[in-house]
């Protein structure tokens, strides 16, 4: 049983590119759900809009990367307008179903064989973000970092990983700072008032629809950035990476950290991936060393157990601690509007 191996893999997962992607997506969900009370279950649609906006323009139409990023952002804004204009007047659970359906429609359309020339169909688009790696000041294949605790704890990363993580966590830092500016501004206070009591906000002369739309688009933009980062570090866009459960996992991360808190989603996402990595590594060692008989669990089933734990975790969180790690129970007014 190699305990330090489990610990180092867990730590690495907490700062991995996946943690960045889910942190960014969850920051957006936090603005929607934690601050405005909007139940957007189609965050993955915004991620797909960003990823495909970037991928299609740079790969299919050979735009430079920076122009592709602008196109991805624009795609997210357009999606927000399309989605928000008709749905923001709906009740929370109806909005949830519409946004889920929208995310699924996007995935089905981009993977269609007929659009293969543009979106790459079910193969997706590959190899459009080479220039991102070319900007890497480090040697992509060299190892950086150190083994600490007499070499027991492996904290060495390749230059490519380090570059991606540095860019990613910088994006998260910027996103957190923007969120902090937003929610402490008068604008953010209006959002909270909409979350607490939409009619009261309306009675005070606030154009609730406009504020909700702004929140949807801004939060969606964080999702768009998450999608573009996802596409860039993988150097590919695959349609089936943008399926409905991604939103639910990001939502789990946001709730775990604490809705309605600026840092909640970031901590939540790190925790989410650390828990996944910890259980994965632990089970893998237990199975390979025969502590868990293979009749009970085989290697392929370990990944499935992880997801069972995610589901169970979400249930337990919502039942016993809906405010997550940081949240304030009084602020979790997600049921203010029935």
């Amino acid at each position: 049983m190699d305990l330090m191996d489990i610990v180092s893999n867990t730590l690495r997962a907490g700062i991995s590119q996946s943690a960045v992607i889910y942190a960014l997506a969850a920051i957006g969900l936090n603005l929607h759900f934690g601050f405005t009370g909007l139940l957007n279950f189609g965050q993955v649609g915004f991620m797909a809009a960003g990823a495909y906006g970037l991928g299609i323009t740079t790969y299919t139409y050979n735009w430079p990367l920076w122009a592709g990023i602008l196109a991805g952002l624009a795609a997210g804004v357009v999606l927000g307008l399309l989605l928000g204009a008709p749905t923001l007047r709906l009740r929370a659970d109806y909005l949830a179903i519409v946004t889920i359906a929208a995310g699924e429609i996007i995935r089905l359309v981009v993977r269609a064989a007929r659009l293969r020339n543009i979106t790459g169909g079910s193969n997706g688009l590959n190899g459009f973000a080479d220039s991102f790696q070319n900007w890497n000041p480090l040697d992509p294949s060299a190892a950086y970092g150190a083994r600490v605790f007499e070499g027991e704890l492996n904290l060495r990363f390749t230059g490519a990983d380090l570059w991606e993580m540095a860019v990613g966590w910088s994006l998260v830092a910027v996103a957190v700072f923007v969120m902090w500016l937003l929610v402490t501004s008068p604008w953010g206070r209006v959002l909270k008032s909409i979350r607490e009591d939409e009619d009261a906000a309306r009675a005070l002369g606030k154009n609730v629809f406009r504020f909700k739309m702004q929140s949807l688009i801004l939060g969606g933009t964080f999702g768009t950035v998450a999608g573009m980062y996802f596409a860039t570090v993988n150097n590919s866009v695959q349609p089936d990476n943008y399926s409905t459960p991604v939103t639910f996992f990001a939502l789990t991360a946001a709730i775990m950290g604490g809705l309605g808190k600026v840092f909640g989603p970031v901590v939540g996402s790190m925790l989410f991936w650390m828990i996944l990595a910890f259980t994965d590594n632990l089970l893998r060692q237990l199975v390979s060393e025969g502590h868990i008989p293979s009749s009970l669990m085989e290697n392929v089933q370990i990944g499935q157990v992880r997801f069972m734990l995610v589901g169970l975790g979400l249930v337990l969180l919502m039942v016993f601690r809906p405010q997550g790690v940081f949240g304030d129970k009084r602020e979790i007014a997600i049921d203010a509007r029935r």
Binding site: L39, P86, I97, S122, M308, G313, L314
Partner: protein, 445 residues
């Protein structure tokens, strides 16, 4: 789905046979090359020797039933004296099996030339049969004539498929709608109740060797009990704690993830067929261009009867009226002496029973898979929303419309996009008439 149904309807002749045998011989495919003779006396099909098949790496559609693009050649095979061939492939994955038409004897041809390549999706150690539909010249044109490629005929057949699919959705949707009506819960874990039903029936049918009909009945009882268990163990305590509806909805998402992967853990990721009725070739009756096979007739008939019966019972019986009263206003219902908790538990039982049968029907018309319920959940939502959340007869109409729309849309759009139309309808309905066709507007907040 489409291919499974087309295979059943096109006299069961063309399309892949999804029955698969599990052993440790590695992955592969096999089949018998045989054709239908012109000779009317010869009812059995004639095996062909020396016909070549080639297996390619391939990209398949999402459901693994249509070939989208063919890649490198990986293996070849030739049929023996009994027409049988068997090909091993290098590993699990997606393949296309192609019949080499130039090795066919003169006069024998593919009934459907577009079915020269068949899709093959293999998991570890899976060997799947494929079936090429061959016939001698006159017989081929006769079959083609019967299949009548006129748009109207195709439309008629698709409509029947759509009605069948719609009724399956309806069986799943009515429980969701009743639960929403009585408790306000938008239950995302409903999809796993669908899958649970199909898988439990599979366990009794295939693992324990029971006939499918008693297996289904046992599964329906267990499905109902599972519904009761969920209500008593989870949802009722939450309701009593005053947990809000949005919180409960998110809890149901967590539950859905937990149950889905628990089913995957137990059942595996392979699509499997029930022991009985999986492949039916004989037709029960023909009506114009429509050849109805017995299991489709049973699915359509039984679903329709049950859905109408539930709808009538809600109107006529005392229990049904009590359910509607609780849907309307739980507090008022309680004050008239209705035991709301008891009614809700009965609703969960009823929902569990119906959704199990829906799940078995879906498993029967396609195959049993751990994602069966998850794949149709949004369509079930679409049906419920279209008809009006919490209205029973609306759900039946909504389901039929969604089912018919999905299948008829394949007349114009690629089959892989057929669900998009239904999802768009869901979005549009929620925008312009969120209470659905039959819902009353005051239900909407």
């Amino acid at each position: 789905m489409l291919w499974a149904i087309l295979a059943a309807i096109g006299v069961g002749l063309f399309g892949a046979d999804f029955a698969s045998a599990q052993d440790d011989d590695g992955e592969g495919t096999q089949g018998i090359i045989q054709y239908r003779s012109d000779d009317p006396e010869q009812s059995d099909r004639v095996p062909l020797e020396g016909v070549d098949v080639v297996v390619y790496q391939a990209e398949l559609s999402e459901n693994g039933r249509e070939v989208i693009e063919v890649g490198d050649e990986v293996a070849t095979g030739t049929s023996g004296a009994d027409g049988a061939f068997s090909v091993d492939v290098p590993g699990p994955g997606d393949y296309a099996v192609e019949l080499q038409v130039d090795t066919l004897p003169d006069g024998v041809e593919l009934v459907d030339e577009e079915r020269q390549q068949l899709a093959l999706r293999l998991t570890t150690n899976e060997r799947t049969n494929v079936l090429f539909n061959l016939a001698e010249g006159d017989a081929a044109s006769q079959i083609r004539g019967r299949e009548g490629d006129s748009r109207l005929d195709r439309g008629a057949r698709l409509l029947v498929d759509g009605i069948k699919f719609g009724l399956i959705i309806g069986m799943c949707a009515i429980g969701l709608s009743l639960i929403f009506g009585t408790t306000g819960l938008v239950n995302f874990a409903h999809s796993e109740m669908i899958t649970f039903g199909a898988v439990i029936a599979f366990f009794f049918n295939v693992t324990l060797g029971l006939h499918l009909i008693p297996a289904t009945i046992i599964a329906m009882v267990l499905g109902g009990l599972a519904g009761v268990g969920l209500d008593l163990g989870l949802w009722r305590p939450l309701r009593h704690r005053g947990v809000g509806l949005v919180t409960m909805m998110i809890i149901s998402i967590g539950l859905s993830i937990l149950l889905r992967y628990a089913i995957l853990y137990q059942f595996g990721d392979r699509s499997q067929a029930y022991d009985q009725y999986a492949v039916q070739t004989e037709t029960l009756f023909s009506l114009g261009p429509i050849d109805m096979i017995p299991k489709d007739a049973i699915i359509i008939g039984l679903s329709l009867v049950l859905l109408v019966a539930v709808s009538v019972a809600l109107r006529v019986t005392k229990l049904g009226k009590a359910m509607r009263a609780v849907s309307d206003n739980p507090d008022l219902a309680a004050s008239t002496g209705i035991d709301v908790n008891r009614i809700v538990t009965i609703v969960w039982f009823l929902a569990g029973v119906l959704v199990t049968l829906g799940g078995v029907f879906q498993g029967l018309s396609e195959s049993v898979n751990w994602q069966n319920g998850f794949q149709i959940l949004l369509l079930v939502f679409a049906a419920v929303t279209l008809g009006g959340l919490g209205t029973d007869y609306g759900v039946i109409v909504g389901s039929l419309v969604v089912g018919a729309l999905i299948f008829l849309s394949t007349l114009w759009v690629a089959p892989e996009l057929k669900n998009v139309g239904a999802l768009l309808v869901l979005v549009v309905i929620l925008m312009i008439r969120p209470q659905g066709i039959f819902g009353r507007s005051e239900r909407i907040g």
